[in-house]
C-alpha cells in the first residue's frame, strides 16, 4: 500500500464494494433481525418469559372463556334434540282412556315416541323424590293426572312445532300441553350474550396486549438508545433500526399465544375430572373438548399480530425521537 505512487488513481477510494441484489439484502436483513432477536430472547430468558406470560394470560382469558361457552353450547345442543312435550290430561280421564290416546298419538308422523306415565307411577316418583310419603298418605285420592310424554321428530321447525302444540292442546282429554323448550331457548340467549361478552373481553384484553408489547418495546428502545444513535451515525436507515424491534414484538406475541394455549390446556386438565363427575351424575358421556388446531392457530397468529402492531406503535412513537445531535 505504502509504495503506491501518489499520482496513481487511488485504489481505495475508487474500488467500490459490490453489494448483493436488493432482494437478497432485504431477505438477509430480515433473517438477521429474526435470528438476532431470538438470540436476545434466549439471553434473557426470565424477562422474555415474564413478558410472554403477561401476554399469555391476557390472551388465555378470552380464549378460555370462549372455549367454556363453546362447551356449554355443545351440552345445550345435545339437549335440544331431546325436546319433549308433556301432555297433562284432565283428572277425569281414566287410565284406559289415556292409554288409548297414547296409542292414537303414536300413529302421528310428527311424534317419535309416546310414553304414558300413569298417575300412580307419578305419585310413586314424587314420593320417592320429595320424601313426603306420610303427608301423601293423608290424601284421599291421587291428585296427579295422567301424563303423556311425547318426543317430537327432531327435524321439526319451530312453526311446525307450534302447530303440533296447538293441535294437542285442542284435544278434549288434554288439560295442558307444555313444550319443555323455553328454558333451552333462554339458555341459548344467555350463551349468545356470553359470546358477545367474550368478544368484548377479547377486544379489551387485545388492547392490553398491545400496551404490554408496546411498553416492553419502548423500554427496549430506551435501553438501546446509545446503540441506535451509533448505528444512525454510521448510516443505518430507520427501517434497519426498526426491524429488530418489530421482530421482538412478533416473538413476544407468538410466545404469548403459545403460553395462552398452555394455560387453557392446563385449566382444562384441572377441570376435566370434576366435569367428568358432573357428567356422570347426569348420565352423560360429555367431555370438555380442547381448542381445535384452527382455534389454536388463531390464538398464536392473533398474538403475533397484536405483538407486531404493539411494537409498530411503540417504534413509531419513540424511534424518531432518537437522532444523533
Amino acid at each position: 500500500m505504502s509504495n503506491t505512487p501518489r499520482h496513481a488513481p487511488p485504489p481505495r477510494a475508487t474500488s467500490r464494494l459490490q453489494r448483493p441484489s436488493l432482494l437478497y439484502r432485504y431477505a438477509m436483513g430480515h433473517l438477521q433481525a429474526l435470528v438476532s432477536t431470538l438470540g436476545q430472547l434466549v439471553r434473557q430468558p426470565f424477562n422474555s418469559l415474564l413478558t410472554a406470560l403477561v401476554i399469555g394470560i391476557a390472551l388465555a382469558l378470552p380464549a378460555g372463556l370462549h372455549l367454556m361457552i363453546d362447551n356449554l353450547g355443545q351440552v345445550v345442543e345435545g339437549w335440544k334434540g331431546s325436546t319433549r312435550i308433556s301432555l297433562f290430561l284432565t283428572l277425569e280421564t281414566a287410565t284406559s282412556e289415556a292409554e288409548a290416546l297414547a296409542k292414537r298419538l303414536g300413529a302421528r308422523t310428527e311424534l317419535e315416541t309416546v310414553t304414558h306415565v300413569a298417575p300412580a307411577d307419578s305419585l310413586a316418583e314424587f314420593e320417592q323424590h320429595s320424601g313426603m310419603s306420610d303427608l301423601l298418605d293423608l290424601l284421599e285420592r291421587n291428585p296427579l293426572p295422567s301424563l303423556l310424554v311425547l318426543t317430537p321428530r327432531s327435524d321439526l321447525d319451530p312453526v311446525a312445532m307450534q302447530a303440533l302444540l296447538t293441535d294437542l292442546q285442542a284435544l278434549p282429554e288434554v288439560e295442558l300441553a307444555q313444550l319443555d323448550m323455553a328454558w333451552v331457548k333462554r339458555l341459548h340467549a344467555m350463551l349468545a350474550i356470553g359470546q358477545r361478552g367474550v368478544v368484548l373481553l377479547g377486544a379489551l384484553l387485545g388492547l392490553a396486549v398491545l400496551v404490554v408489547v408496546g411498553n416492553t418495546i419502548r423500554l427496549g428502545i430506551q435501553n438501546r438508545r446509545e446503540e441506535i444513535l451509533v448505528t444512525k451515525l454510521i448510516g443505518a436507515t430507520n427501517a434497519f433500526i426498526r426491524r429488530p424491534f418489530l421482530y421482538m414484538g412478533v416473538w413476544y406475541g407468538l410466545l404469548g399465544g403459545l403460553m395462552a394455549l398452555a394455560l387453557v390446556a392446563l385449566a382444562l386438565h384441572l377441570l376435566a375430572a370434576p366435569v367428568g363427575e358432573l357428567a356422570l351424575l347426569y348420565q352423560s358421556d360429555f367431555v370438555l373438548h380442547n381448542v381445535t388446531p384452527l382455534q389454536g392457530l388463531l390464538v398464536v397468529v392473533g398474538g403475533a399480530l397484536l405483538g407486531l402492531v404493539g411494537s409498530w406503535v411503540a417504534v413509531g412513537r419513540h424511534l424518531s425521537a432518537i437522532e444523533p445531535r
Binding site: 500500500m1 459490490q18 453489494r19 448483493p20 451509533v230 448505528t231 451515525l233 454510521i234 443505518a236 436507515t237
Partner: protein, 252 residues
C-alpha cells in the same frame, strides 16, 4: 470533496455557531481543523454528517448539495463518510469484529464479504487477532483504532474525525495520525478536528483555524514542518486573506 459557501449555523437558543464559513477541501486532501472549544469545529462536522442542517449557505460534499438531501436520504449520505469520534462510539456489548462489521451489515453485504473486509480493516489498524474481544478489554488507543477500522471498512472517500487523539498520550496520538496519513496516501480525503497543536505542528498537512464560528486562518500544506509557531502565524494571515478572495472569485 467538501465545499462550504457562506455557511451559517444558528442554534435555536440563538447561539451563532458558524458565521459565513467558506472553504474547500480538495479530493484526496488531508486537513486539520483547529480552534478553541466552542469555536464551531464540532458544529461543522455535524453539518457535514447531516446531524444538523445549516441555517443558511451551501454545503456540497462529494458533489452532492446537502441542502437538497431529504431526511430519508441522510443514512445513505452517512454511509459515504467515515466518522471517527473522540469517545469512539463503539458498541460495548458487541465484539470488535461485530463493531467493525456494522457499516457493512447495515449496507447489506454478504457474510463472506463482510468477514473479508473486516479482517482487512483490522489488519490495517494492527488489531488482527483481537476481533473476538470486547472493546472494553482494549486500551484507549486500541479502541480508537477499532473506531477507525469501522470508519474505513466500507471504503469511504471522506474520513471525518472529531478529536481522534483527544484522550491519548503523544505516542499513541502520533500512531493514530500516521494511520490517517496512510489512508490519505491512497486517496481518501481526511478532515480532522483537533486542538493537539503540538502534534499537528510536526505534520505537513493543511490547517484550517476556526475562531468564534469564523475561519480565521488557512495554513496551506507545507512540504516541511514549520520550525517555529510564530513563522506559521504570519503565513496564516496572508493565506487566509488570499484564499478568501479566491473563493469569492470562484463562486461568481
Amino acid at each position: 470533496m467538501i465545499r462550504l459557501i457562506n455557511v451559517c449555523k444558528r442554534y435555536p437558543g440563538g447561539h451563532q455557531a458558524l458565521t459565513n464559513l467558506t472553504f474547500e477541501l480538495e479530493d484526496g486532501e488531508m486537513a486539520f481543523l483547529t480552534g478553541h472549544s466552542g469555536a464551531g469545529k464540532s458544529t461543522l462536522l455535524k453539518l457535514i454528517a447531516l446531524m444538523e442542517r445549516p441555517t443558511s449557505g451551501q454545503l456540497i460534499v462529494n458533489g452532492k448539495n446537502l441542502g437538497k438531501l431529504k431526511t430519508h436520504q441522510v443514512p445513505y449520505h452517512r454511509r459515504n463518510l467515515g466518522l471517527i469520534f473522540q469517545n469512539h462510539q463503539l458498541l460495548y456489548d458487541r465484539t470488535v469484529f461485530d463493531n467493525v462489521a456494522l457499516p457493512l451489515v447495515i449496507a447489506g453485504h454478504r457474510h463472506q464479504e463482510v468477514r473479508r473486509r473486516v479482517l482487512a480493516a483490522l489488519d490495517k489498524v494492527q488489531l488482527l487477532g483481537k476481533e473476538h474481544l470486547y472493546p472494553i478489554t482494549l486500551s484507549g488507543g486500541e479502541q480508537q483504532r477499532v473506531g477507525i477500522a469501522r470508519a474505513v471498512v466500507n471504503r469511504p472517500k471522506l474520513l471525518l474525525a472529531d478529536e481522534p487523539t483527544g484522550n491519548l498520550d503523544p505516542d499513541l496520538s502520533a500512531e493514530i495520525m500516521g494511520l490517517f496519513q496512510d489512508f490519505n496516501r491512497v486517496g481518501v480525503s481526511v478532515l480532522i478536528v483537533t486542538h493537539d497543536y503540538d502534534l499537528i505542528r510536526s505534520m505537513p498537512n493543511r490547517i484550517l483555524h476556526v475562531e468564534h464560528g469564523k475561519l480565521e486562518g488557512d495554513y496551506p500544506r507545507r512540504d516541511r514542518p514549520a520550525a517555529n509557531p510564530a513563522e506559521g502565524q504570519t503565513q496564516v494571515t496572508q493565506s487566509s486573506e488570499r484564499d478568501a478572495t479566491d473563493e469569492e472569485d470562484g463562486d461568481e
